[in-house]
């Protein structure tokens, strides 16, 4: 009788190893996927946080200095233009010839700015408009723009989708704005969430139509310049 020693896997062993291996592979794939999503979300939150801090500081400084006419003080006569104004889409279109995103507002402030190598008292506008770019997912990208007088606009914060303004006036002085409240909304542009996430904006809960991550922000600033 001939005895043969067989080394290696039997069919049943091979089948068990294969099925456990496949289960582990599926698990590892899911882990990678989850980790990638988490990393993406971390990046978006930190990016939105950075934008929020930047815009709060930038706008606060601009509002505080609104009405600063020190650069034309030689004239000894205060300019008659309204220092801070708010425009709706229609008003911005007809009065300033600026096309802003519908449902948003334009903030205009007059102050001395360094422009073309000299200080000038000029109107500065802040508004949301389309960048005419699309994201990798084919979504249109909006941004907050900054425009001095009639000069070309400059992109300030990409991914800002809403900008609403509340003006606080000095009692019995309709044209004299003392403080400004700005409600702004930052977005991840692309869909990064698995479920739609509602957000608090302009004293109301809002339900988005997409799966993007929204970060609302509120800013109050008081004018420091003499009126």
């Amino acid at each position: 009788m001939i005895h043969k020693n067989y080394f290696g896997f039997s069919l049943i062993e091979f089948m068990i190893a294969l099925s456990i291996g496949s289960l582990l592979c599926v698990g590892i794939f899911n882990l990678f996927n989850t980790m990638q999503n988490l990393h993406q979300r971390q990046m978006i939150i930190s990016h939105e946080q950075e934008d929020s801090r930047f815009i709060s500081l930038f706008l606060t400084e601009k509002i505080q200095m609104a009405g600063n006419w020190s650069c034309i003080a030689k004239l000894k006569k205060q300019p008659r233009s309204i220092v801070i104004r708010r425009f709706t889409k229609n008003q911005a279109d007809s009065k300033l010839n600026i096309d802003i995103k519908s449902g948003t507002e334009l903030l205009q402030m007059h102050e001395c700015v360094r422009f073309q190598d000299k200080k000038q008292y000029l109107p500065i506008a802040f508004y949301i408009a389309s960048t005419f770019r699309v994201s990798s997912m084919g979504k249109h990208i909006d941004a907050l723009f900054y425009q001095i007088d009639n000069h070309p606009r400059e992109e300030l914060v990409t991914g800002m989708t809403n900008f609403r303004i509340t003006l606080y006036r000095v009692l019995h002085q309709k044209r004299n704005i003392r403080a400004v409240r700005i409600d702004f909304l930052l977005t991840s542009i692309d869909d990064v969430l698995k479920n739609k996430q509602s957000y608090w904006f302009e004293r109301k809960w809002r339900n988005p139509n997409d799966f993007a991550l929204y970060q609302p922000g509120i800013l109050y600033a008081v004018r420091r310049m003499e009126m």
């Binding site: 291996g21 582990l24 590892i28 980790m35 988490l38 939150i45 946080q49 608090w200 004293r203 008081v222």
Partner: protein, 108 residues
């Protein structure tokens, strides 16, 4: 076969550790995000106090500010006290995994 299974088990363990690390990092970013919002809300209220000098005006705007706190921060709640003639203390607390709070002393 046992070697393959052990190596795969080790790989999954390492990946699970990485996942745990990612989740912790996300939580910490979310926590710093709430802190950032809280700081901004404190600055906002210090600006509000600058222009609203009367008690009634301050109380009216305080309610609006606190409503924003409730929605922007988890269980967010603010309070302020006038400690001196021109000095106010603003406190903002919220709950994210544990109780957190920020205090600011401002001129008002």
């Amino acid at each position: 076969m046992i070697e393959v299974l052990i190596s795969m088990g080790l790989t999954s363990f390492v990946l699970l550790a990485l996942l745990f690390y990612q989740i912790t990092a996300l939580k910490s970013i979310e926590s710093s995000n709430f802190k950032n919002i809280a700081i901004q809300q404190l600055i906002n209220f210090s600006e509000i106090l600058l222009i609203n000098k009367s008690h009634s005006a301050r109380n009216r705007i305080f309610l609006v500010w606190n409503k924003d706190n409730q929605h922007l921060l988890p269980e967010g709640e603010g309070n302020y006290t006038q400690t001196d003639d021109h000095l106010c203390t603003i406190k903002l607390s919220w709950f994210f995994k544990r109780q957190a709070s920020l205090v600011a002393h401002v001129l008002c």
